[in-house]
């Protein structure tokens, strides 16, 4: 029978191939005819045999279907699918459904729903169950996979009654899968666990009963099984953290999360390093574990707490002799101390103790890094654990692999809120300041910024080591100063007793005035001034020149030196002392200014232009004062400037005049349009944290600018021919705007776009001249779109730290060869800098080179901050005098990446999304570097 069917299918196929293509190549149908589905329906009903039906279907397949009629067609097809008995026809219908589902603008959900409603799923599951007993492991693997993807826990499934008459009872997927935890083939065991995890991922409730089985699999012979089992145990521990499990060979019980924590800790000693990495990583996410168990991971010896004793007497004895093993630190202390107590019951296997100690000294650095990360996560949630793991983390600063050292420094910084460093720990930490690697030193500076120390010796020690560092590596200047700033402001009372010594003042004698340009002296002053901010008595210890230096530094390094209240001195430099509530008030101010401008509709209204001007100025100033709101204020100011430009360009009088009379204004308006375009790109790509609404607003302004450009070109140019293509393009843009911001459209009802969209059917058919007219009138009628204040807005900024641009010594190199220029810059609030940030080098002759730095040159010292340390290669032909090249950073953008393509765009039948505009925005101040290419000596 089967063979016969197969043959028939082949026959059908051969017929398909024989039919010659009758119709011309695909034609796109513009009209939507309801008859489409109806015709098909009639055709299919007419068909007497399967062959005929197939013919109709084939014919139908060659025509394309409009998006709006797809649904109807699909319904018809599905209907026939169920009625049809012939397999080949059904096959064709399904393949048609597949094709149709790819139609643009049609969501395939309804098909899927429909299919799901049928018994397909159920049948698949039954099929999978039946083949689970297959002898070939691949079949069992796939069956388990299917069960994992489709099975549901709630509905029990009946096993095939004939095959297993004894098991006629109902069983759920979970128990079926868990049967294969004990399969003889390791790959099947892995597949079974993976299927179970898949069930969990799909939101099914996994029963706790498999916990024991999963634990047993932790000691499997094969690493992939163990690795999967670690995951499984972890999942269960997260699902049932509080349930109680018994400890084998005793009547004690522990929480499940503790038990599984012990078991996974045990896996840190596994033979395979992949499993070790997995186990170490997993430990980090088990935050509910109780602290007895947690602390045990830092001690290799089994502590008495984790044993349950039968009698109080024995417990007392246990407390007396805390450890039975020696530590190997002293000679001859390793004689056995305590005899074994057979009544003791281990709550966790001794292999689990010291999991982190093992992990941190593992052979493979991957395991060490995973362990460090896990430590960090656990320490952040438990202060007492943070205290305990400190020594271990500090020890990791001596790791042989730099990556691990760096990671442990970062981790220590993250948990530093929970800890205070002791002197000996600080000593070890500070020793790393002499490290050759710049990354390590800077990470350490960052760490010191956040560290709390215990006494004044520590502060002094830190200062000394930092000064040593400064001496050894002068390039660390900024970083060291910043570090001292925080050190000072964190420990004002500890700095106070050190002040006379630090400033080398003497009660009777005047000491010589130190050199103001000495970085080390500046470093000391930064420390002292920052401490003095919170400690008003300190200023009485200053000598005269200190005050003078303060005034100087307050101006030159204002970001490092805070404003001080220096009573009785001429240097009353206390600024507008920003009170604590000022952020909110600034926010209110920002909102008010925006509200005020929202009332403006056109510039004709008296004073409106002034109002805008002033508001822009206010916002800019606000941005300077309130760094928290700088992004938002800047954004609003720029937006308002765009609006202002637009309004100016659309002023009444100018549009009423004849073209030749207002050439000047025309030029001005064209320039304005271009500027608005540029600004909108800045608005869209330089600021991060924009909401969809704001992006839409920015796009709206851009559309207006484009329309303005179009109108202006139409006015100045004679012929309309070149305009046709740009008009088309404009319409496409409006269209894509509509598609992209479908959800936002209600907000744009009254705006320029809203009006355009209303007129859309007319626009697409009318002539260019008419279009321009419509555009002009709508543009002029359109009012300013009110801007909603975004919540979290940050402007991407970049500062080039090196080169400083102060050097007078030219960089000399031989003509035609290259010279490397070190660039060190910090980037803030830049998303995905690896692909977006470029370096531009501008030569005096106007040549500009854009260089893309290597991805490895970007470092991430903190959230939303990046650091670019790279080298750019310069070259030029010979010059007679040294000349400046300008180095600046650019932010590249491309509109295609920002706009999310709708699902239909991904099909290859369509052209790539139109109008992918790419460009760059300079976002840093440029720095001048003096270079001098010399002619090569012969």
């Amino acid at each position: 029978m089967a063979a016969h069917l197969k043959k028939r299918v082949y026959e059908e196929y051969s017929k398909v191939i024989q039919i010659p293509p009758e119709e011309a190549p695909q034609k796109k149908l513009r009209l939507s005819k309801p008859s489409k589905s109806a015709a098909l329906h009639i055709d299919l009903c007419k068909a007497s045999g399967s062959t005929e039906a197939l013919q109709y279907l084939l014919q139908f397949a060659r025509k394309s279907v409009e998006a709006d009629s797809v649904e109807g067609v699909i319904r018809i097809l599905l209907e026939h699918y169920y009625k049809e008995t012939d397999n080949s026809v059904r096959l064709k219908i399904v393949s048609l459904l597949g094709l149709l589902s790819k139609t643009k603008g049609f969501s395939p959900d309804c098909i899927v729903d429909d299919v799901k409603n049928t018994t397909t799923t159920q049948r698949l599951i039954e099929m999978a169950c039946k083949h689970l007993a297959d002898t070939y492991f691949g079949v069992r693997n796939k069956c388990l996979e299917v069960l994992g993807h489709l099975g549901t826990v709630d509905s029990p499934l009946s096993r095939d009654g004939e095959a297993h008459p004894s098991l006629s009872g109902l069983r759920d997927v979970q128990s079926v899968i868990s049967d294969y935890f004990g399969d003889q083939e390791p790959r099947v065991r892995t597949a079974a666990i993976k299927a179970m995890l898949q069930l969990h991922e799909r939101g099914m409730k996994i029963n706790q009963i498999i916990y024991e089985q999963a634990c047993r699999l932790l000691s499997d012979d094969y690493e992939q099984v163990r690795s999967a089992a670690v995951q499984m145990v972890w999942v269960l521990s997260q699902l049932y953290p509080e349930s109680i499990v018994p400890i084998p060979s005793s009547n004690e019980e522990v929480r499940l999360v503790d038990d599984s924590f012990g078991k996974i800790s045990h896996m840190v000693n596994d033979g395979s390093w992949m499993v070790r990495v997995q186990a170490a990583k997993t430990l980090g996410s088990m935050l509910q574990v109780s602290h007895y168990f947690l602390e045990q991971t830092l001690d290799k010896k089994l502590m008495s707490d984790l044993r349950r004793k039968r009698t109080a007497h024995e417990r007392a004895k246990e407390l007396y002799a805390s450890g039975e093993f020696s530590s190997g630190r002293k000679w001859a202390d390793d004689a056995p101390k305590e005899r074994l107590d057979t009544n003791a019951v281990n709550l966790i296997a001794s292999g689990a103790c010291g999991a982190f100690v093992h992990g941190l000294e593992d052979e493979m650095y991957e395991v060490r890094i995973a362990a460090v990360e896990a430590l960090s996560l656990l320490a952040q949630s438990s202060p007492s654990f943070a205290e305990k793991c400190l020594d271990f983390l500090v020890d990791m600063f001596n790791d042989e692999i730099e990556e691990v050292r760096l990671q442990s420094i970062h981790v220590l910084r993250e948990i530093s809120t929970n800890i205070i460093l002791r002197e000996d720990q600080l000593d070890t930490v500070l020793a790393v300041l002499e490290d050759k690697s710049r990354d390590i030193r800077e990470a350490l500076h960052e760490l010191i910024c956040y560290t709390n120390v215990s006494n004044k010796e520590c502060v002094q020690l830190a200062l000394l080591e930092l000064l040593k560092n400064l001496n050894k590596y002068p390039t660390d200047r900024n970083s060291v100063w910043k570090c001292l700033k925080f050190l000072g402001s964190r420990h004002p009372t500890l700095v106070l007793p050190l002040v006379p010594e630090l400033l080398s003042t003497h009660p009777y004698f005047d000491t010589p005035e130190p050199d103001m340009d000495d970085p080390a002296y500046i470093a000391v002053l930064v420390l002292v001034f920052n401490a003095a901010q919170a400690c008003p008595t300190m200023s009485s210890l200053f000598s005269d020149h200190t005050f003078r230096h303060y005034a100087y530094l307050r101006d030159s390094l204002s970001h490092l030196v805070p404003a001080l209240r220096l009573a009785g001195r001429g240097v009353e430099l206390v600024g507008s002392a920003a009170g604590p509530g000022s952020v909110e008030s600034a926010q209110v101010f920002l909102q008010d200014s925006l509200n005020r401008t929202n009332t403006i509709h056109s510039l004709e209204a008296p004073g409106s232009q002034d109002l805008l001007d002033f508001t822009i100025r206010d916002l800019q100033r606000l941005g300077e004062l309130q760094t928290e709101l700088a992004g938002a204020a800047d954004f609003c100011a720029t937006y308002l400037r765009c609006q202002l430009l637009l309004m100016k360009a659309l002023q009444e009088k100018f549009w009423n005049m004849a073209v030749p009379l207002c050439l000047k204004q025309n030029v001005m308006a064209t320039a304005a349009a271009r500027q608005i375009l540029e600004e909108t790109y800045k608005l869209e790509f330089v600021y991060s944290g924009l909401e969809r609404r704001q992006v839409a607003t920015v796009h709206h302004v851009r559309l207006q600018a484009r329309a303005l450009q179009l109108v202006l070109t139409a006015r100045t140019r004679k012929g309309l021919e070149p305009l046709v293509s740009s008009c088309d393009k404009f319409l496409q843009e409006v269209d894509s705007f509509q598609r992209q911001f479908l959800t936002e459209l209600p907000h744009f009802q009254e705006s320029f776009v809203g009006k355009l969209l209303e007129l859309m059917p007319r626009l697409s058919s009318c002539k260019t001249v008419e279009l321009i007219k419509i555009l002009q009138s709508t543009l002029r009628q359109s009012s300013m779109l009110p801007l909603t204040l975004p919540q979290q807005l940050h402007r991407a900024t970049a500062t080039i730290i090196e080169p400083t641009g102060e050097s007078d010594n030219p960089l000399k190199f031989t003509t035609g060869l290259v010279v490397a220029l070190d660039i060190d810059a910090t980037l803030e609030h830049v998303q995905d800098p690896q692909s977006r940030v470029k370096v531009q080098v501008l030569y005096p002759d106007g040549q500009a080179h854009v260089i893309t730095p290597k991805p490895g040159d970007f470092r991430k010292p903190g959230p939303d901050r990046h650091r670019l340390i790279t080298q750019v290669y310069l070259s030029h032909s010979a010059w007679t005098d040294p000349g400046h090249v300008e180095v600046s950073l650019l932010l590249a953008y491309s509109s295609s990446t920002s706009s999310k393509p709708s699902w239909a765009d991904s099909t290859d039948s369509l052209p790539p999304p139109e109008g992918a505009i790419e460009g760059t925005i300079p976002f840093s101040k440029s720095v001048k570097v003096l270079i001098m290419p010399k002619p090569a000596r012969r």
């Binding site: 033979g271 093993f325 020696s326 004689a335 292999g351 000294e361 990791m396 001596n398």
Partner: protein
């Protein structure tokens, strides 16, 4: 009954002169062939006469396996092969083969040239001995002959150290040699797969120690050295030329480079140069860091460490000197120690284990006055520090290895008896399924793998039934029926055994007493009394009683059992050998 016989010729319950004989499946293998550092007479070598009294070594031994190049594991090798006489294969890893002769030559020089001993092996003998060596690769299975195969696993400890799995048929033994489960600055951790050997012979030097984290130790070490050097003191670190020395060198070298210290570091003896060369070459045997970075810079090319000259010891100012040997029992380290011992600013750091009887051992135990050979005494004023850098597995490491290999039985060697006893308890607590024996005194005790308990009546049988596959149909039938169908005749294999018993009763009464006794012991078995044929049947086992011809009180029991009941039969024979209980109900 499978029997693995282990005879330690040395290092049964002490450290030094490791030499273990293993008989497995009719093959005899010698594991390691070391010397003892604490003795200068015949006791320093293993007692080969235990074997040679029955003939030549070559006839007795199938192969010799050397786990690593430390002298207490390979020091007696030329003595054994050339002076006692052994011509069979000697197996060791490539690095061991390269470095071993250097150490042996050095050892020979000290003994013969310095101490003037005669009757010692010569340089030529070392060379001849090395010709018999067959090199091994990691995880390579080597067939020694048709039945015996060996396989080496990475053991850490020192460069080229290996654990060996010895396999004859289905029986296998794993010998660990010395191993280390925590990686260090230059070597990785020991690793073995789940090979489930019948017997695991493990060292147990640090049976009662669980060491602190490696980094703690490193930090302490560096701190102590740094402080002494800053004070202007001299630091002596007695080491064995190879092994720990390289780790500590790497540690100090990186520290010096990082801290930009200027005090000189010296390394004594020229042999180090040669050995360091091999360290540079055998990169694959080192740890991840060295393996990854050697392209840029080989970690064994030291910048700050220079060769030592005798005259430098009197130089003023701070310095750090690595000197050999490690237990301060002879050579350069002892000379320098004598020079520096008087100054309390100086420091000696003992980074490893010291055998009893050496000066190292004495000063570590707090002795402040030492008697030297020439009846002179030496006052020890310098600071003595101990830091366990020796790369042996600690208790935790041993447990970890057991967990990795999952052996059925376990034998602890190479350690002290009391400590082994302690560890035994620990292991029994943790792994209830392992039969554990710790080796008793280093007098030659044999260890039998024996089944001491009553076999389970529902045990798996040799043959339960037969599955006949004929024309796509399967049938399960009893063996008898299968044989009948296939026309095969059944062969019976029976074991018989005579047991003598003192019993004053008559034969019939004795038989009855035996019957009652067996019935009380063997609860799950069918026991039958057949008085007419004067016998007792337990399953297929027949026990017959007859009086001895000379003495009517001595009864001779004739036991006979079939192969299928081998376990029960052997149990019964041991049971009856013990005699009958006097009181029977």
């Amino acid at each position: 009954m499978p029997e693995i016989k282990v005879t330690p010729l040395g290092a049964g319950q002490d450290v030094g002169r490791s030499c273990i004989l293993v008989s497995i499946g009719g093959k005899n293998i010698m594991l390691d062939c070391g010397m003892h550092m604490g003795f200068n007479d015949d006791r320093r070598f293993p007692d080969f006469s235990y074997i040679t009294q029955n003939g030549r070594l070559t006839e007795f031994l199938d192969c010799v396996i050397i786990s690593h190049f430390h002298l207490d594991h390979c020091g007696a090798l030329p003595y054994m092969s050339e002076m006692v006489g052994y011509d069979g294969p000697i197996y060791m890893t490539h690095p061991t083969k390269a470095i071993c002769p250097i150490l042996l030559e050095d050892f020979r020089k000290i003994t013969v040239d310095k101490k003037g001993e005669t009757n010692f092996f010569t340089s030529q003998m070392i060379k001849d001995c090395m010709k018999k060596v067959v090199p091994l690769n990691l995880h390579q299975t080597v067939q020694v002959d048709e039945e015996l195969e060996i396989k080496a696993y990475y053991a850490g400890h020192v460069l080229g150290a290996a654990m060996v799995q010895i396999k004859v048929g289905s029986e296998s033994v794993v010998y660990t040699g010395d191993y280390n489960m925590t990686p260090d600055r230059h070597l990785g951790a020991a690793w073995i797969d789940k090979c489930r050997p019948d017997l695991l012979i493990s060292e147990s030097t640090y049976a009662t120690t669980i060491r602190d984290s490696k980094r703690c130790r490193e930090r302490d070490f560096l701190k102590k050295v740094h402080e002494t050097v800053e004070r202007g003191g001299k630091v002596l670190i007695p080491v064995f030329a190879l092994g720990r020395a390289q780790e500590l060198c790497i540690l100090l070298e990186t520290f010096w480079e990082r801290m930009n210290l200027k005090a000189p570091i010296y390394f004594s003896t020229g042999m180090t140069e040669k050995a360091n060369h091999y360290y540079k070459l055998f990169i694959t045997w080192t740890n991840q860091k060295i393996r990854k970075t050697f392209v840029q810079r080989n970690m064994f090319e030291f910048k700050h460490i220079k060769p030592f000259d005798r005259s430098y010891a009197d130089n003023p100012g701070p310095m750090v000197v690595f000197a050999t040997p490690g237990m301060l029992h002879a050579g350069q380290s002892l000379q320098i120690f004598k020079k520096w011992a008087g100054n309390e600013k100086n420091m000696v750091i003992m980074p490893g284990y010291c055998v009893q009887g050496t000066i190292g051992h004495k000063i570590l135990n707090g002795q402040r006055k030492l008697e030297l050979e020439g009846r002179s005494t030496l006052e020890v004023k310098l600071q003595v520090e101990y830091m366990s850098f020796s790369a042996h597995a600690d208790a935790k490491g041993i447990m970890q290895l057991i967990r990795m290999a999952e052996p059925r039985n376990m034998l602890l060697v190479h350690g002290e008896a009391v400590k082994m006893e302690f560890l035994k308890g620990k292991i029994e607590q943790e792994f209830s399924n392992i039969v554990l024996t710790i080796n008793l005194k280093h007098t030659f005790l044999t260890y039998y793998l024996e089944k001491g308990t009553l076999p389970d009546p529902k045990k798996p049988r040799t043959m339960h039934g037969t599955l006949i596959m004929k024309e796509n149909s399967l049938r399960l039938v009893s063996p008898e029926q299968a044989m009948k169908e296939l026309g095969l005749s059944e062969h019976h294999l029976r074991f018989t055994c005579r047991v003598q018993l003192q019993d004053p009763h008559s034969d019939a009464d004795t038989l009855h007493r035996i019957y009652m006794h067996l019935k009380s012991v063997l609860k799950g078995y069918t026991t039958q009394h057949l008085p007419d044929s004067m016998s007792v049947m337990v399953e297929s086992i027949v026990v017959k009683v007859s009086s001895s011809t000379e003495d009517p009180n001595t009864k001779v029991l004739l036991l006979s059992w079939s192969y299928q009941d081998e376990d029960l039969g052997s149990f019964l024979s041991t049971l009856l050998k013990k005699g009958l209980p006097s009181v029977l109900c």
